[in-house]
């Protein structure tokens, strides 16, 4: 589109630019001076690119026009804080005792949150406070991994992010209990947008488990645009698990961008059941030798839902392993999208990369788009990928029936097993148990799970 400076057509990004001007004038968050230029540069990038379209290869199957068409109403300070702790207790992961940070419509709610009592060497606080209190750490790490060039949504987030979690493990420090982050949406006006921003820094030889739960109370056409950056230092272990269960009318875009140093261990799980349209960008750069990365995902969709997982794993150094297992179960007219790219740089010899995406279609109108992709510039590597789309395996059903198990039970067993394959890989036992129950219940509620087709 050609637009001249004068008398030009209004652009979809205009309301964002206008809002930013007001945002710039009104800010009084005490954030350090370097933050604003970062925001401004990100906004400029977004203004340049606008929202992606299906013409972009990375967005081929996922049309974000419904998001672009929403009125832009970023929530800077949520009015809804009167959430009871009992309502938070109903969410998955809530039974896990220990540290939790609760955000309602993007705003940190201290009285619902539980912060560590003693100084264990792991700092946990909301990002807004950290921007004031931990300036140099944040300047080093914030907005370094989620690059504005990589995604318009990351750019939008960097321009407007309001709050989120900041987690920092000092060298050699570990926290065995999981840190749980709750991001709760309550019914608000259409287009109300939360730009959530989390930063995880695991210094040398530290260990952390971070669980993110995106949940809702009530239903609404909200838009969550979240970015989590994870800097994983030498010999550090980070387990990250995200559960997305937003309103069936909501929009959800999230990125996890991880940078792995020498001999790291990084595991990320994504379990998605909610939102009308959701997109998960998973970006991992393996930038030190001898690191292990495991990425798992499970998505259940029905109705008109669309759930997209898009990942790029970059092997930049030799002797790293990355394994990805993603299963999708689609029903109704829903669509599951998987795009996994493994990029092996010339230097990254002895790479061992494996990627699997399996899709189970429970209805004739459900769709799976899967695109595993290998891009290899080194010659001594072991890379495999595979994808399947289909219905339940007849041989498996017959085997179960031949042992006395009825057809409906056999089908249910196999569908649960298909989800269970991914759930059982979740390393954090408490989170695994919670998600196992949630997913079991969701599948049982689905009338097609036991139905004869």
């Amino acid at each position: 589109m050609i637009a001249t400076q004068q008398n030009r057509e209004p652009k979809v990004t205009d309301p964002y630019l206008k809002f930013f001007e007001r945002f710039e004038k009104s800010r009084d968050d005490g954030a350090p001076s370097w933050v604003f230029p970062v925001r401004k540069a990100a906004l400029a990038r977004f203004a340049e690119t606008g929202f992606p379209t299906p013409r972009d290869e990375d967005w081929r199957y996922t049309n974000v026009a419904p998001i672009a068409n929403l009125p832009f109403r970023p929530i800077l300070d949520s009015a809804t804080r009167d959430l009871s702790s009992e309502s938070v207790d109903l969410f998955p992961f809530a039974r896990l005792s220990g540290i939790r940070l609760v955000f309602v419509n993007g705003t940190f709610v201290p009285h619902l949150s539980v912060l560590p009592q003693r100084n264990s060497g792991v700092r946990i606080k909301n990002l807004k406070s950290a921007l004031v209190e931990q300036q140099s750490l944040l300047e080093t790490h914030l907005a370094k991994l989620a690059r504005v060039e990589d995604s318009p949504f990351a750019a939008l987030n960097t321009a407007f992010f309001q709050d989120g979690a900041f987690i920092h493990a000092a060298p050699g420090r570990s926290l065995d209990e999981p840190i749980v982050l709750f991001f709760v949406s309550t019914p608000t006006d259409a287009g109300n947008t939360c730009h959530l921003r989390n930063l995880i820094v695991a210094e040398k030889s530290s260990r952390l488990t971070v669980l993110e739960c995106y949940a809702r109370i009530g239903e609404g056409t909200t838009f969550t645009n979240a970015v989590t950056e994870a800097a994983v230092g030498e010999g550090a272990t980070v387990v990250y698990c995200k559960f997305q269960d937003e309103s069936p009318e909501a929009f959800h875009v999230a990125s996890i961008c991880a940078h792995l140093g020498l001999k790291c261990n990084f595991t990320a799980h994504s379990v998605a059941t909610g939102a009308r349209l959701s997109r998960n960008n998973i970006r991992v750069k393996m930038d030190g030798e001898g690191s292990d990365c495991i990425l798992n995902g499970l998505y259940l969709t029905k109705g008109d839902q669309l759930c997209d997982h898009h990942m790029i794993v970059e092997h930049a150094k030799p002797h790293c392993n990355s394994h990805e297992y993603f299963n999708g179960i689609m029903d109704g007219r829903s669509r599951g999208v998987f795009h996994g790219r493994i990029l092996v740089q010339p230097e990254a010899q002895k790479t061992d990369a494996k990627q699997t995406n399996k899709n189970l279609l429970l209805s004739d109108d459900a769709t799976a788009n899967t695109k595993p992709q290998l891009e290899i510039y080194a010659d001594d590597v072991k890379c495999t990928h595979g994808a399947t789309v289909g219905q339940l395996n007849d041989d498996s059903i017959f085997y179960l029936r031949a042992r006395g198990i009825g057809l409906d039970t056999a089908r249910r067993m196999l569908i649960h097993a298909f989800a269970g394959e991914i759930i059982e890989r979740i390393k954090c036992a408490a989170a695994r148990k919670e998600l196992d129950e949630v997913i079991w219940d969701r599948l049982e509620q689905n009338p097609h799970v036991a139905e004869r087709r």
């Binding site: 395996n393 007849d394 041989d395 498996s396 017959f398 085997y399 179960l400 029936r401 031949a402 042992r403 006395g404 198990i405 009825g406 057809l407 039970t409 056999a410 067993m413 196999l414 649960h416 097993a417 298909f418 989800a419 269970g420 394959e421 059982e424």
Partner: protein, 252 residues
């Protein structure tokens, strides 16, 4: 117990079984032997209720009922068991969970109380010794990552737990080394009772050194062309299938 009468079956337009007749009484062990492609496995699959075969003529009566009208699970609950030639790997379904569900479906159907977890585990431990299987196997998903021998032993282990009236063993000996073959055969022999029957389907005589059949039948081109005692199996081993085929006027 089982009466197969003039059974004709095939897939699409291809006839595989062309008039099989076979009667099995309680307490008997029958062996059906035959060269590749003779229809042995088709017979086993049809008896267990596998879909996809067209039955054009004949009938199968099991314990007084029309077997071919029953769903696979009904057959299993009535006591029919197929030890698969190729046991299926089922990722994500735990072996204990699977076998307990199967056993309780069968018990429920037969009017017996269901077993709880403790009772089931006690039963399972006792049966595992019979097949020399490690208990860790039960913690794993059904057949997933099992070796060929483990899969076959697992089939017989399931048979031991489910205690069928009619067990059909489809090429259970294939892929087993001599030690595993002995273990499996020993298991099968100890499961033999006056009120149940076994139908062994095998290409080779080898298995019959360990499980001694009362009757041996030779299946060729979809029909049983000869029946006899154990001696028939030994003769086949010595002379090969060609010997019988040559003696059959219609193939000569």
């Amino acid at each position: 117990m089982l009466e197969i009468k003039n059974l004709h079956a095939g897939v699409e337009s291809k006839a595989i079984l062309k008039g099989v007749n076979l009667t099995i009484q309680p307490g008997e062990v029958h062996a059906v032997m035959g060269p590749n492609g003779s229809g042995k496995s088709t017979l086993a699959q049809i008896l267990a209720g596998r879909e996809g075969y067209e039955i054009s003529r004949g009938e199968v009566i099991y314990a007084g009922n029309n077997l071919l009208e029953m769903d696979p699970e009904e057959r299993a609950r009535e006591g029919v068991f197929l030890a698969f030639q190729y046991p299926v790997e089922i990722p994500g379904v735990n072996s204990t969970y699977f076998l307990k569900a199967a056993l309780n479906e069968i018990r429920k159907h037969q009017g017996q109380p269901e077993l709880d977890a403790v009772e089931f585990l006690a039963l399972v431990k006792q049966k595992m010794k019979l097949l020399d299987l490690g208990e860790d196997l039960l913690k794993r998903p059904v057949n997933e990552g099992f070796s060929g021998g483990e899969k076959k032993r697992n089939e017989i282990f399931q048979m031991a737990v489910l205690e069928p009236k009619l067990a059909i063993l489809d090429e259970t000996d294939s892929g087993l080394d001599i030690d595993a073959l002995k273990i499996v055969s020993n298991g099968v022999n100890r499961l033999k009772r006056p009120d149940n029957a076994q139908l062994l389907i095998t290409h080779y005589q080898r298995l019959l050194n360990y499980i001694v059949p009362d009757h041996v039948h030779v299946l060729f081109d979809g029909r049983i062309v000869r029946s006899g005692g154990r001696q028939l199996a030994l003769e086949l081993e010595e002379k090969g299938y060609d010997w019988i085929i040559r003696e059959e006027p219609q193939f000569a």
